[in-house]
């Protein structure tokens, strides 16, 4: 890798040993991918993936403290993934004990570190930082040092920004020195599609199921999706963006997708069309039967597969304001159809703190509350990631949550039926 004189001076330790180690990390990371240079980060804000003060992650907090002690805080303000705990979310005595006394004992300490490192504000905790209410929305072509997989794939694909699927810690190291290694999704070549995915369904495919199918098929490759405009249109309106947020999160967690192109819809596909597809690209055709096959093959790891669900999470990644409004109407209608007054399974809708604040100002907030739905800023994945929850039958419409926990995936329609009518979500 060829470094500028300024970068070389940092690497040589002229600005201190800690900063030299930060730059060495980025250089070695780039070398693994043949990066020939470091390029400046051009986004206004950064976004970090590590939001949780898990006791077991002590080495992370030690490293952050090393950075702070050396006076090398982030050069950019940043948002960060959702908090892991919220007292509004149902939890029994034992769960609360494990969460507060065993698992997340470092939460307050770590949040203090985040503030010192450059956290935007106390409400900047969400995986969907690019939402208007949150305000960390990069522009097309900007270079980022982000790591949260669902945010990276959204920024690359829907916003046209440029970011690799960095890991946690690498994200903040980039914004400390102001550079990231130039490889992969930062390059024009790395943004070309090596798969063509043809949508041949008879109805609008479920976003998180479609994303799962594509992620598991293409893994870390870039897919060019044809035929989805039939269902989403050709404008990146609220509905299309919400769909692509959920779709992308599933491609990134069920596989390792960092960028997708949607024909006639996402910015680079609109601009460059099929010239984005490399010669000899592989093909994957998705019809109704293929989506059914994918859903039917998810493992069921509940002790009793027929157990009545005890909790339902919707909003991983976090819901948008419009999604909260749409869900309010759907739940009201579902309850009306079933003759119930409140949801029959404790259900939590998760969204960014600033989206929840905006939602509270709408007429929908009291209506949703009346259905019994709980709203929260929590990260359902962090809530679920412990042995107590493993024994708990939890349902979700998030394919990311399904992937990392024992939560069982159902489509939005199945979830709606389960929480408003009860019985088997099938």
């Amino acid at each position: 890798m060829v470094l500028t004189p300024e970068q070389q001076a940092i690497l040589n330790g002229e600005k201190g040993e800690t900063l030299a180690k930060v730059l060495k990390t980025l250089v070695m990371y780039g070398d693994a991918f043949g990066a020939e240079k470091l390029v400046p980060i051009t986004s206004k804000y950064n976004h970090l993936v590590t939001s949780f003060g898990l006791k077991v992650m002590a080495p992370v907090y030690d490293l952050m403290q090393q950075l702070l002690d050396a006076g090398v805080a982030s050069g950019q303000k940043f948002s960060v993934d959702p908090r892991p705990l919220d007292k509004n979310v149902p939890a029994n005595f034992l769960q609360n004990f494990v969460f507060n006394k065993f698992m997340y004992t470092k939460q307050d300490f770590y949040e203090k570190q985040l503030m010192e490192l450059g956290l935007l504000d106390e409400d900047a905790f969400t995986c969907a930082c690019y939402m208007d209410e949150v305000g960390n929305k990069p522009q097309k072509g900007e270079v980022l040092s982000w790591a949260e997989s669902s945010a990276v794939v959204y920024a690359n694909s829907v916003l046209g920004a440029r970011c690799n699927r960095n890991s946690g810690i690498i994200d903040i190291m980039g914004s400390i020195v102001g550079y990231v290694p130039y490889f992969g999704l930062l390059t024009d070549e790395g943004r070309k599609a090596t798969w063509v995915v043809k949508i041949a369904t008879t109805k609008k495919p479920e976003a998180q199921l479609l994303g799962s199918a594509i992620g598991m098929k293409v893994m870390e490759d870039v897919p060019y999706v044809v035929g989805l405009d039939k269902w989403l249109g050709t404008e990146l309106d609220d509905a299309a963006c919400a769909y692509l947020k959920d779709f992308g999160a599933a491609t990134a967690s069920n596989g390792a997708v960092g960028l997708y192109h949607i024909d006639k819809l996402t910015p680079e596909a609109v601009e460059l069309g099929e010239s984005l597809i490399v010669e000899g690209a592989k093909e994957y055709i998705i019809d109704d039967a293929e989506l059914q096959r994918v859903q039917d093959n998810y493992p069921v790891i509940w002790k009793n597969p027929d157990a009545k669900p005890k909790l339902c999470f919707v909003g991983c990644p976090h819901l948008s304001l419009q999604q909260l409004k749409d869900w309010t109407e759907k739940v009201e209608q579902g309850l009306k159809d079933s003759g119930n007054k409140k949801v029959v399974i404790p259900t939590v809708f998760t969204a960014p703190p600033k989206v929840l604040e905006a939602f509270e100002k709408t007429e929908y907030a009291p209506r949703l509350k009346a259905t019994g739905i709980i709203t929260s800023y929590i990260c359902p994945l962090m809530y679920m990631n412990n042995p107590l929850c493993k024994k708990m039958p939890v349902i979700t419409s998030s394919n990311k949550l399904r992937t990392y926990t024992s939560a069982r995936y159902y489509t939005d329609a199945q979830i709606l039926q389960a929480i408003t009518k009860g019985g088997n979500a099938e």
Partner: protein, 148 residues
Amino acid sequence: MKQFKGRVITPGTVTAEAVVTTQGFNTLASLQMPLQFGDKEVKCSDQNNAELHGKPLINKALCLPQTIGSTTGGLVLYCACALKKNPACMLFANPIDSLAAAGAVLADVWVEGVTMPVVDSLGEEFLAYVKDGMMITVKEDGTVEVDG
């Protein structure tokens, strides 16, 4: 004994017993639970990986195509190394992915006294040949010897 040659990501020498996955290794799903709850054997907790689920990973030669899943993967791997609960080495059939590379580099630069050799680009033939329980020796130059 069969020999394979790959590219060194982080150097080192080690001999260990193989555990093999032919599907992507989901670092967060595999490691967070055993790390969090003090599983001394660091048994893989990824329910979506039938080849590895429930198998001990600590001090094993983890043979894999690549890692997948959450981008906390690199820091989880870094923590595993810092807590000395890491695989003995990671041997990739494919070119390494960005999350695994981050974890390997973070451990190499920031963790004292832990060496986890990482070699990539060993080829599909490597993953087709190696089986659970085979003894593997990794050399400094990226040579991987598999004793079948």
